[in-house]
């Protein structure tokens, strides 16, 4: 077979399409849930990073550096074979095929990783709010916490939302390591298909096409969102 034939041999599709369809569902679910779960810890990390306490700043900074400087796959294994060997999770099949006993540790690992990145974008979003806003609020007698809650965060959100959407796009790609735990995501479905059909190339071409078809429009949507949020400014 020529290279072109190997790339475009989709004869596996009639039998293996469900792997890909389930894979898309699983990948999207995993990414959305992980980024969502990451928001609260990320907000805590960002506020710690901005606090006056050296200790809180140090803890948060160390967390962020550790998670950004080590591979996601390593983090995934450490979380799965570390804390989660001590906990027995209920095994329930979401959509009939996603096993919660491995999905949950996967979400936890991805969210821990994602929170390190999201924390930095929340921090940047907070810092981008004009200092005059804080000064005005403090001059009226609001405490630091009230100022954050009523004045700064509501304005920072429009800086943060586009970066969250961006993180989601990144996450859709990053989740591809989750197959190592046996979570049946898009990458897992692709690998299984390639192994079973002895077609080493074309399933991956299809997977690439699917990832692209999700992420390219999503990326464009993020850009449009960013433009709209910016236009919303005074």
């Amino acid at each position: 077979m020529t290279l072109w034939q190997r790339m475009t041999n989709f004869s596996f599709l009639p039998d293996y399409a469900p792997y890909f369809i389930n894979g898309i569902i699983c990948t999207l679910l995993l990414s959305v849930v992980s980024v969502f779960v990451a928001i609260i810890p990320a907000l805590c990390l960002a506020l710690m990073r901005l606090s006056k306490s050296k200790i809180l700043r140090g803890i948060s900074g160390a967390y962020i550096q550790v998670f950004r400087s080590t591979p996601l796959l390593v983090q995934l294994f450490i979380v799965y074979f570390g804390p989660f060997t001590a906990i027995t999770l209920p095994s329930y099949k979401m959509f009939g095929f996603i096993d919660t006993a491995i999905f949950i540790p996967g979400v936890v690992a991805l969210a821990l990783n994602s929170s390190a990145y999201v924390a930095e974008s929340i921090r940047a979003g907070i810092l981008a709010v004009d200092k005059g806003q804080t000064e005005a609020a403090r001059s009226l007698g609001l405490t630091q916490a009230q100022t954050m809650r009523y004045i700064v965060l509501p304005q920072a959100i429009k800086n943060i939302i586009p970066t969250l959407a961006n993180e989601l796009v990144t996450m859709i790609k990053e989740t591809s390591v989750i197959g190592y735990l046996g979570v049946q995501d898009l990458m897992w479905g692709t690998k299984t298909t390639a192994g079973a059909t002895f077609l080493p190339l074309s399933p991956y071409i299809l997977a690439a096409a699917i990832y692209f078809c999700i992420n390219f429009p999503a990326g464009k949507a993020v850009e449009a969102l960013e433009r709209r949020m910016r236009r919303g400014d005074k």
């Binding site: 005059g132 806003q133 000064e135 400014d233």
Partner: protein
């Protein structure tokens, strides 16, 4: 202690720890009595804003005391939020809250900080908006207002906390010339009603007419502290003479 002394600045020294180690306030002392309108003038960079901002601890002095209503608020063990409620501040760039309506800009602090009743605060806010001529804009957002209107709202917002003193940092410097008058008018009115005010400004007409005392600062020092008549008509300090020759 004399009760009519609202604020006493005692030997305040402020150095910014930022590489340049700028000395913004070089051992300044000053008293502000109830009902006074103290105007601070001086060249750019002379420490006027820093002086004003140390009065409500937006800048913390390196050394020295700020006595407000008998309490040294420069002391770190003091809960500054309690005292700031009584000191309104108006900024050069308005700093209205863009995500809140005009009315909410006024009512937020009285409700959240003082825990006042919504209805009471809203009534007071509407009355204040009426006084600054913007009652009909209560439900608009700051972005829908002109600069002059924004600054009038900012003044009303500070007043809504019912402060003992109002601090103004170049309130008309960011305005188009045709809007300066409407803001000065509101301030003049406030002074007439007996509000204690500390005003940093380049508007010498305002200083002369409305000020009860005028202070000249240069290089972090208070060089002159006089009544307006002496200040403008018989200035003795050579640096002040220079300054007046440039700005008048």
């Amino acid at each position: 202690m004399e009760t009519n002394k609202l604020i006493q600045v005692k030997d305040v020294y402020k150095r910014f720890e930022d590489g340049n180690m700028t000395v913004a306030l070089d051992h300044c002392s000053l008293e502000i009595r109830k009902g006074e309108v103290v105007v601070i003038v001086g060249p750019s960079g002379s420490g006027k804003s820093t002086m004003l901002r140390t009065l409500n601890m937006l800048e913390v002095p390196t050394s020295g005391e700020i006595i407000f209503e008998g309490v040294n608020i420069a002391d770190k063990s003091v809960d500054i939020n309690v005292h700031r409620q009584k000191m309104g501040m108006v900024f050069q760039h308005f700093n209205l809250f863009p995500h809140k309506t005009i009315l909410e800009n006024l009512t937020l602090a009285p409700i959240k900080v003082k825990g006042e009743d919504h209805r009471t605060v809203e009534e007071r806010a509407m009355r204040l908006l009426g006084i600054v001529g913007l009652a009909d804009r209560a439900h608009d957002y700051p972005s829908q207002l002109s600069g002059g209107q924004k600054q009038r709202v900012a003044i009303a917002r500070a007043l809504c906390m019912q402060p003992e003193v109002m601090l103004f940092d170049e309130p008309t410097s960011a305005l188009d010339p045709e809007m300066v008058g409407e803001v000065l008018e509101v301030m003049r009115d406030l002074a007439k009603h007996g509000m204690t005010m500390v005003v940093v400004t380049h508007e010498m007409g305002f200083a002369r007419e409305v000020g009860t005392r005028v202070i000249f600062m240069d290089q972090g020092k208070i060089l002159v502290d006089e009544d307006p008549k002496t200040f403008f008509e018989k200035p003795e300090n050579p640096r002040l003479q220079d300054f007046l020759a440039k700005v008048l």
